[in-house]
């Protein structure tokens, strides 16, 4: 069995005391270990931002890439070696702002990636500017009169784009979050795990105390239908006094993108020979031009 300590690293996080990333980090490690995945069987791809430093503090294969490009790099990783579990950890600016096009594409593509978005609704590492998920009226250095744009709704967007696993957790409940990530790891295609997370330095409005009384798990409702897309979409619009967490939508009926690629039926691409055909086959390509 894999032990959570296998993921331990001697490198200490640079996150602020009280940062939600600690809980997310622990939940990720716990979920991976409890899924019996060893560090060498996993690729954790991140972008740039506080949360994206997660692989640096973990003994695991990974790549820390560019702001916004996490999902694009991870898609290449998955298509080259779909034998590995691919997990993305990046923030809301990375995933929903700069990486918006990749977010929509990954969702509708149903690529086999667990996409954990550390959603603190602010830019932390650049020291406090509003993000796509900041509420309207949110005052920051770049929105001095308050944000004019509407708050981005990642769950509704993911459902609309065709995502087959749409969920939300929060960093105040590590057990629930670890359970959620484990469910996402077991999912067949693209799995969004949006994680509400306080930024204790730059977004004190969304504190633990603000969030805790508002969140409730849809799984606690006995009659919640997780495969009802329209119902899930309606629930994804709920925000305010009550905020749904848990798996809002899940369908295992849709094949993952990598399942649709003929070349990958023979196993991970990286394990296949670079030139898999007989010499005569390649010589015959020339005859197309004769």
């Amino acid at each position: 069995m894999v032990d959570i300590r296998d993921y331990a690293s001697p490198v200490r996080p640079t996150w602020c005391t009280g940062c939600g990333n600690f809980a997310i980090w622990n939940a990720v490690k716990k979920a991976l270990a409890e899924s019996d995945l060893a560090p060498y069987q996993v690729m954790v791809v991140s972008g740039i931002g506080c949360g994206s430093k997660l692989p640096d503090y973990t003994t695991v294969n990974g790549l820390m890439t560019l702001h916004g490009r996490t999902l694009a790099v991870a898609t290449g990783v998955k298509l080259a070696n779909h034998g590995m579990k691919v997990v993305c950890t990046h923030g809301d600016g990375d995933g929903y702002g700069e990486g918006g096009n990749h977010f929509i594409s990954a969702a509708r593509r149903n690529i086999g990636i667990v996409d954990i978005v550390q959603d603190n609704r602010v830019y932390g590492l650049t020291k406090g500017q509003y993000s796509p998920t900041s509420p309207q009226g949110f005052v920051t250095k770049t929105s001095p009169q308050g944000a004019i744009e509407q708050q981005f709704n990642p769950l509704a967007m993911a459902i609309a784009a065709g995502a087959t696993f749409v969920s939300r957790g929060w960093s105040g409940d590590v057990e629930h979050l670890a359970w959620l990530i484990k469910q996402a790891l077991a999912h067949r295609g693209y799995a969004l795990v949006d994680v509400l997370q306080p930024c204790v330095t730059f977004n004190r409005g969304y504190s633990y105390d603000w969030t805790r009384p508002r969140v409730y798990s849809v799984q606690d409702e006995p009659d919640y239908k997780v495969d009802d897309k329209a119902g899930a979409f309606a629930r994804s619009l709920e925000w305010g006094d009550r905020i749904p967490i848990g798996i809002l939508y899940r369908s295992e009926a849709v094949p993952a993108y990598e399942e649709g690629i003929p070349a990958l039926a023979a196993g991970p691409l990286v394990n296949q020979p670079l030139l898999g055909k007989e010499r005569e086959y390649y010589e015959a390509l020339k005859s197309e031009y004769v």
Binding site: V60, N61, G62, T65, V73, G76, S105, L269
Partner: protein, 580 residues
């Protein structure tokens, strides 16, 4: 009479089948054992406008088009108006009898009119006007004396998938047009074509040769976003991907394309993206990521005129310095600039070995003229026996034997750190695009920054030693030396041959390995030159700038062109008068 030396031009609107007709005729000529150089000129539109396809035919191996046209196949009146001035005396124009032609204008230039009821033949013999193009190439074969069977073999190839009835109808149309054209105009037309016995040849474009080369170089992952003229390479791989067992991905944008190949190449496959300048502009940040993470990726930029949308379907060589400097910061990259079809194949196959050996991005800079032009090549001109060198890649046995934590960016003299692919229990690593230490961990230490930056940059010096010397053509000791890059070498070689015909000695020095510039080899190639003229298709003289900055070579003059149309040998000779 002139035998087997002629230029045929086909002109018409987009959607009329100018390219397929030209391609069909060029293939027939290739099968007849003749040397062929074919180029196309088209607008960025799906219907209408004016496109042309130009085929030069010779008994010798040829490397470019020539301006004078001997036979024009005009599908529209506009084609005649546009190209009449290019037709040589006693040359001819084949056109449908329904087109009203200014006979006096033709007579003034001693051009022969060859009106034929092409549409009528198509309708009567084949049952549909759509076969008028078949009638036209039948007629072209008729006036030039090229055997009808040469045309028939291409018709069979092109229409077999549509059924025997369609094949038969087209064969009837071609035969009828052939007979009529031969009978009415064959006697008066002085340019003739005769089949030669020759080894089997293929008619292949730069894009196709590059794709084939990349495939033989082990490329098994191609991602890209469509952009003319780079997308045919993505399409080439896509249509064959299931059969070849490779992965291709039409991505959401070019940014995704480069980042996807970085992810894929990091995992250990041989990955490439293909685009044009605008797409490459979007890839710039990703290029730096590949540089920082030392991921071996191959990026193809088939240049077109910029900036912005520029001329979507046209030709320019103005991205050289952009590709050399693209992305913030400094990191090693290798730039290959093929200029011929054979060099496209070679660049495609070599790129992956270089990328994995030096663990850096390899950029192939092609151009629209090279990408679209076709040449008849002997089958053995492209040697598919390409050695695969995966560089310092650690195998399972070496990884099993690791006793210490794996250092992805181990500081070595060559700058090349042994590479482990993710997935081995002893080589778990998570490198960062932040400056990092030997393990790949984020590190802001000044000494580590110096160590890692210098380590990366040393790879450039290691690579420089194996960069190829410039290719040389013409008289090696000539005092007049032209220096060039990319497809301009074709017309330039022809121009130098033409100078030779007038008793003037000159040579061509073509730089195909642009970066890291093999300075000593370039200097040696230009030894003894009294006058160095740089010929390139851009405004500022980018190769000349590069030579001055990095090899301390100051060219005496520039021959440039930036109208979106490739240089012709005649243009080069015309410009030469002004700079000598």
């Amino acid at each position: 009479m002139t035998l087997n030396e002629m230029t045929l031009k086909i002109g018409g609107e987009a959607g009329m089948g100018v390219e397929s007709t030209g391609m069909g005729f060029a293939k027939a000529l290739t099968r007849a054992g003749l040397h062929v150089f074919a180029m196309q000129d088209y607008h960025s539109r799906i219907r209408g406008g004016h496109n042309f396809y130009q085929i030069r035919i010779s008994d010798q191996d040829i490397h470019s088009h020539l301006e004078p046209v001997d036979l024009l196949l005009a599908m529209t009146k506009v084609a005649i108006d546009e190209h009449l001035r290019e037709i040589v005396p006693h040359g001819g124009v084949i056109y449908d009898s329904s087109i009203v032609v200014d006979d006096a204008a033709l007579a003034e230039r001693s051009v022969q009119a060859f009106p034929l009821p092409l549409a009528q033949i198509a309708e009567e013999e084949g049952g549909s006007k759509i076969m008028a193009n078949t009638a036209a190439i039948g007629a072209a074969a008729g006036v030039t004396g090229l055997g009808l069977e040469r045309i028939n073999s291409v018709i069979r190839d092109n229409f077999t998938r549509k059924g025997q009835a369609v094949v038969d109808a087209n064969l009837k149309v071609a035969a009828a047009a052939y007979r009529l054209a031969e009978e009415k105009y064959g006697g008066a037309f002085p340019f003739k074509l005769e089949a030669r016995s020759a080894p089997q040849r293929m008619l292949i474009s730069g894009n196709e040769a590059l794709a084939l080369g990349a495939l033989m170089g082990g490329c098994n992952f191609v991602a890209g976003y469509p952009m003319t003229p780079g997308s045919p390479i993505l399409e080439w791989f896509s249509v064959r991907s299931a059969d070849l067992g490779i992965v291709t991905k039409h991505t959401e944008d070019e940014i995704a394309a480069i980042n996807m190949i970085i992810g894929a190449a990091h995992m250990g496959v041989r990955a490439m993206t293909t685009t044009s300048g605008g797409g490459f502009a979007l890839m710039v940040e990703g290029l730096g990521l590949a540089g920082m993470l030392e991921v071996p990726v191959v990026v193809v930029n088939v240049q077109r005129p910029g900036p912005a949308t520029g001329h979507a379907t046209r030709h320019e060589q103005a991205d050289l310095l952009f590709m050399l400097h693209a992305a913030q910061g400094e990191f090693p990259r290798i730039i290959l600039a093929p200029g011929t079809i054979e060099q496209c194949f070679e660049a495609g196959s070599r790129a992956f070995n270089l990328a994995e050996k030096y663990q850096c991005p390899v950029l192939i800079i092609s151009d629209a003229f090279l990408a679209h032009s076709l040449r008849a090549l002997d089958l053995n001109a492209l040697d598919l026996e390409v050695p695969i060198d995966r560089g310092a890649l650690l195998g399972n046995a070496e990884l099993d034997a690791l006793t210490e934590r794996y250092k992805r960016f181990q500081n070595r003299e060559s700058g090349i750190s042994p590479r482990a692919l993710p997935g081995h229990p002893k080589a778990v690593h998570a490198p960062s695009s932040d400056e990092h230490d030997e393990y790949g961990q984020i590190c802001e230490d000044a000494e580590v920054r110096i160590q890692q930056n210098a380590k990366r940059m040393r790879k450039l010096e290691t690579a420089r030693a194996e960069m190829h010397a410039p290719l040389q053509y013409g008289h090696a000791d000539a005092e007049l030396a032209f220096v060039t890059w990319g497809s301009t070498v074709g017309p330039l070689r022809t121009a130098v041959d033409m100078l030779g015909g007038k008793g003037k000695s000159a040579r061509v020095v073509q730089i195909s390995d642009v970066w890291p510039l093999p300075v000593d080899k370039v200097t040696a190639a230009l030894q003894g030159a009294k006058k160095v003229i740089c010929v390139e298709q851009n405004f500022t003289g980018q190769l000349a700038t590069l030579l001055r900055a990095h090899a301390d070579i100051r060219v005496d003059a520039l021959i440039r062109k930036y109208d979106g149309r490739p240089m012709s040998p005649e243009y080069i000779l015309g410009q030469l008068k002004g700079v000598l």
